[in-house]
């Protein structure tokens, strides 16, 4: 009887410790989740439910913390003097040649021609996306590139129309810069490439590798038609520039255009890389203990619902 009693006691103690451990774990998780909220709450009680000088009607929240302002990630630019020289040369080249040609292209050619050119240039990048998708361990991206390429070859007149997008197979460009990031490579320092413009070490390497991943390169070399590569590069330059005219006009109006280009390029590029690596998302989710509600509906669906409710 005593043995049974001892065993029972030990069992209860074991379960007790297990539950206590689970409780402590849960408690620490709750503390992690609630820390920012509690700090906000305590701020409210101690500091200000009243209006502040820079906040007329808002609840008190720390915008610096909400936007991760202290964790913005500096842009390493150790060769800034050299980059500024290349930036200035690019600006002159742009002002005398690239921008005027782009404006003429935009004004002279009908919109559907411009869209066909843009669509065809994108179509040529699908094989590169296919390879990079596999390297990024994202077979879905590769499959999407493959089906888009096949569909646009047949129903888009060899990519002159992006029929696949209308079919719901949206563009999802992948490059080797993103692939390097997916393997943990950092962006390195900021660079300005002649003619091409803002970049960084990782994306410059990516640009070179993507060039050699491109089947068009091997076709042009094997058939001795290198001119194809020059025409493609020229068309890409003018097409891209023509679509960026409004944005660059705006950036040129900033207090320091070099800094504005650097910041805008880097923010956009980090966002594109994050789409593949999800590093920022993971970090933010971990930091904030975010509660996510997946509620995928479109405006059309929403208005449809409203109609039904009415």
């Amino acid at each position: 009887m005593r043995i049974i009693e001892r065993l029972y006691t030990r069992l209860v103690l074991f379960v007790f410790l297990l539950v206590a451990f689970a409780f402590v774990q849960q408690g620490s998780l709750m503390a992690d989740d609630k820390t920012p909220v509690m700090s906000e709450k305590s701020k409210k009680s101690t500091a200000s439910v009243t209006k502040t000088d820079d906040d007329d009607e808002s609840v008190d929240f720390d915008m610096e913390a909400a936007l991760d302002a202290n964790d913005m990630g500096d842009i390493a630019d150790p060769f800034a003097p050299f980059n500024k020289v290349v930036f200035a040369i690019n600006k002159v080249l742009d002002a005398v040649l690239i921008r005027p040609v782009s404006i003429v292209y935009k004004k002279v050619f009908p919109h559907f021609v411009q869209r066909s050119v843009e669509s065809f240039l994108f179509y040529l990048t699908e094989p590169v996306t296919l390879v990079n998708g596999l390297l990024q361990r994202d077979p879905q991206a590769s499959y999407n590139a493959l089906r888009r390429f096949g569909f646009n070859t047949v129903f888009g007149f060899f990519g002159l129309a992006d029929s696949a997008s209308h079919f719901g197979w949206e563009r999802d460009k992948r490059d080797f810069g993103q692939t390097l990031a997916s393997f943990g490579a950092g962006e390195g320092f900021y660079t300005v490439i002649p003619i091409v413009g803002p970049s960084n070490v990782r994306d410059t390497i990516g640009l070179v590798v993507d060039f050699f991943l491109d089947p068009l390169y091997y076709y042009a070399v094997s058939t001795d038609r290198q001119n194809l590569l020059y025409v493609r590069s020229g068309a890409k330059l003018i097409d891209t520039r023509s679509r960026l005219i409004d944005i660059t006009n705006d950036l040129d109006k900033s207090p320091d255009p070099y800094d504005s280009y650097r910041v805008t390029f880097t923010d956009n590029r980090r966002y594109e890389v994050n789409k593949v690596t999800h590093e920022d998302d993971k970090r933010r989710a971990h930091k904030s203990g975010a509660i996510t509600e997946q509620l995928e509906t479109s405006i059309e669906e929403k208005s449809g619902d409203k109609g039904q409710n009415d």
Binding site: T9, M30, V59, R115, K302
Partner: protein, 211 residues
């Protein structure tokens, strides 16, 4: 002995379940309504897209109406002061007021410029995330006719008047507040708040005068 341990055990289970129940109830009470935020973004986003793609409006009308949308739904004061970073603390009230005015004009001109080529775009609102600081992030995308999409993140908070206010919009990684803050930072380091105000004054001062 067994009775004591059993009692403590039951008590502990009771405490754990109470805590978990309280936690769930607390989360539910404190979380702002994500559906409300999504509807808000749909409404504001649609208003912006309709305005910027309306080619029958003159540039001046577009700017004026875009300014009205900013005033109605964006916390421009908070955004403007945020872009000053650590220089906000040292800025005088006069400097802050002047900067807010000029920042608003610069933002209007910038966005009307950047989106003037847009036609027939459609905003599709995705998921909403409630952060532990009670701010809300609504993800959306602008479907373009070319097949390319723009990802747009809206960051909101609920004001004391229970209205939602936008404090950041990020288009393909480029934020109205955060990117601008990084852009302004070198000028602020070099020339201070006065230098930045004087630059904006030179470029947008005449427009500010008409406000």
């Amino acid at each position: 002995m067994i009775k004591k341990i059993s009692f403590i055990f039951v008590l502990l289970i009771g405490c754990v379940s109470s805590c978990l129940t309280f936690k769930d109830a607390y989360s539910e009470q404190s979380s702002p309504s994500t559906s409300e935020a999504r509807i808000f973004v749909e409404t504001v986003g649609k208003r912006i897209i309709d305005l910027l793609t309306n080619k029958s409006l003159s540039r001046a009308d577009q700017e004026q109406r875009f300014g009205e949308i900013l005033d109605d739904h964006f916390d421009m004061k908070k955004i403007a002061l945020f872009t000053l970073g650590r220089y906000k603390k040292d800025a005088t009230e006069e400097q802050k007021t002047q900067f807010e005015k000029l920042f608003r004009i610069a933002t209007i001109k910038s966005y009307v410029d950047r989106f003037k080529e847009y036609n027939n775009e459609v905003l599709v609102v995705g998921n909403a995330i409630v952060n532990s600081d009670k701010t809300i992030q609504v993800n959306s995308s602008v479907k373009q006719t070319s097949g390319k999409n723009l990802d747009v993140q809206w960051r909101l908070y609920k004001g004391k008047n229970s209205h939602l206010h936008i404090f950041e919009v990020v288009v393909n990684g480029i934020g109205m507040a955060l990117t601008k803050r990084k852009e302004y930072n070198p000028t602020l380091i070099k020339d201070g708040v006065d230098g930045l105000i004087s630059f904006l004054e030179t470029h947008y001062g005449s427009s500010a005068g008409h406000e």
